[in-house]
Amino acid sequence: MSNFFNIIERDLKRLWNYKIFIFTNTLTYLVQIFVYAFILDFLVSSELDYMRFYAAGVAILTLWSFGMWAAWEIADERSEGVIDYHLTLPLSRTEYILGRMIGGTLRTIVYSIPLFFIFLFVTGMGSFVNLLSIFGLLFLFSFGVTGLGVIIGSFTKEHTKLSFILGLIDAFLIRLSTIYYPEYAMDYWMQFISRINPLTHASDLLRWGLGFPDNSITLYSILFIVIFSLILIGIAIRVYSKRLEGGLAT
């Protein structure tokens, strides 16, 4: 059990490994919050407080981006052979995989918290109780996203292929969600996909947490995030474990 914590500790030790990635993501986030959000709010003629709506979507997107970084990390560690080394260490595969996923999630949280405070500064607190109650769900969501990153990273270590896959996922999931625009502004088919999109539910939950008047929390959103995350965590453990046992070089 103590080695499970050692695995988490390793991930946390390497918190600032990817400085450029953290810097560019933070910068993009700040530009989106402080520049795009205001410009778009000015451009969009709607009763909606678009600045706050957009900022909440971007916050979830940043959380998503940090979580999905696990795919790059796993792919890199595979190509450098570091995972081969980890597999010889005295701990079970489940301890290892869970340790890596929790470590990855904690890193995502650490990266995101300062940005989240900036976000609250810009958008205002809204309902503190609501906000607090969705933190657990957002943590679970980060865990699930890290799981998805782990699954993708387990299947390819080629950067070009990985870029393509992640780009494709982003292109579909982000555009077909309520990250940038509300559901009522979408075509019917887009609305349908949006309702089965985790990014929609995560950003809607955050908006509810902020006390958006148009956003009421639904049991469906809560259940969706919980089930999505648990399924991805489960699949990640199974897929990663199977890939590890089979020999990642094959």
């Binding site: 080695n3 050692n6 695995i7 500790e9 390793r10 030790k13 390497r14 490994n17 450098e80 052979g81 570091v82 081969d84 080394y85 597999l87 010889t88 260490l89 005295p90 701990l91 079970s92 595969r93 046992e245 089979g246 020999g247 070089a249 094959t250």
Partner: protein
């Protein structure tokens, strides 16, 4: 009676069409340094990867201290340590962080970790690398850290793959001494190497195996393997009055395989030279040959390696 600690039965690993390890059966005894020699691609590293529970075998079984490498892999990992051919390091961490984390996860107490790391860092002269992240280090420094991990861990069973590749002779010697110490302290070492000198030094009193195309072609003690080469020993005689008729008489000695006389020098190719050297010398003296030089040499492990791998290399 030697106790076996690693038992491998018909172990096979396939990668699509390639059979990296082919139906391999082998026993490694407790507290020995077992050298695995073979050309590149022979399957040495794949065998280590299976025993270290990284790869799952395609078929066959292997037990490490009675634990099955597939069914009880977590138990196996509690006993083993691996030093990889290519250093597998966290690129952003410095050697102290890498070694300390490794020792910690292997269960060493803080005091023990500090003591062992200090000792090994001094022995392997890692001071130049102090504070630098692994990605800024030279290939040799990275290799030293890789070997240092296992020397600090001191596992019950150590898998060491090419421990001195890229290293200078001075450090090579130090690492060899430390591996011998590891064995003397009770560890069993499976050593994969391409360096015959390394195998000669480390496996002198133990065993080696020649591996090729996923199979063990020959195994035994270095001395026994050398003896398997027909006419591998050479006695070199130098004299100004060598007589051709001596050749006929010497051929009667069963150990002798071939004799070549050239001017003042006679080369006798034979098996187990030490058994008949005195007889040969006696015959030479009886024939009034004034022996100026009488030198015995045995085949090297290079000769053994070439003999058992040449048909594949061709």
């Amino acid at each position: 009676m030697k106790q076996s600690i690693i038992e491998i039965n018909n172990l096979t690993k396939r990668f699509k069409d390639i059979v990296a390890v082919d139906n391999l059966t082998l026993e490694i005894y407790e507290n020995e340094i077992f050298g695995l020699l073979g050309p590149n691609g022979a399957g040495k590293t794949t065998l280590i990867y299976m025993l270290a529970t990284i790869y799952r075998p395609t078929s066959g079984t292997a037990h490490i201290a009675t634990y099955d490498i597939v069914e009880q892999s977590a138990k196996v990992r509690e006993l083993i340590g691996v030093s990889f051919q290519e250093a597998k390091l966290d690129w952003s961490l410095n050697y102290n962080e890498i070694l300390n984390w490794h020792a910690k996860i292997c269960g060493l107490s803080k005091e023990e970790r500090q003591k062992r790391i200090k000792f090994i860092v001094e022995k392997l002269q890692l001071f130049d690398a102090k504070g630098k992240p692994a990605y800024k280090l030279s290939g040799g420094q990275k290799k030293k850290i890789e070997v240092a991990k296992i020397l600090i861990q001191r596992p019950k069973i150590a898998f060491i793959d090419e421990p001195t590749a890229f290293l200078d002779p001075h450090i090579k010697k130090t690492i060899w001494d430390l591996i011998l110490e590891l064995r003397d302290e009770g560890s069993t070492v499976l050593l994969a190497t391409n360096l015959m000198r390394e195998a000669e030094v480390l496996c002198k009193n133990d065993r080696i195996a020649i591996m090729n195309q996923g199979k063990i072609i020959k195994s035994g003690s270095p001395a026994a393997l050398k003896d398997t080469i027909p006419g591998g020993d050479i006695i070199q005689v130098q004299s100004r009055n060598l007589k051709p008729e001596i050749e006929k008489e010497l051929t009667n000695i069963p150990n002798i395989v071939d004799i070549r006389i050239n001017d003042n020098q006679m080369l006798i190719y034979l098996n187990k030279a030490e058994d008949v050297a005195s007889t040969i010398l006696q015959i030479l003296l009886q024939h009034g040959i004034s022996v100026e030089k009488f030198q015995m040499s045995e085949p090297t492990l290079d000769d053994v390696f070439f003999r058992y791998t040449q048909k594949f290399l061709k």
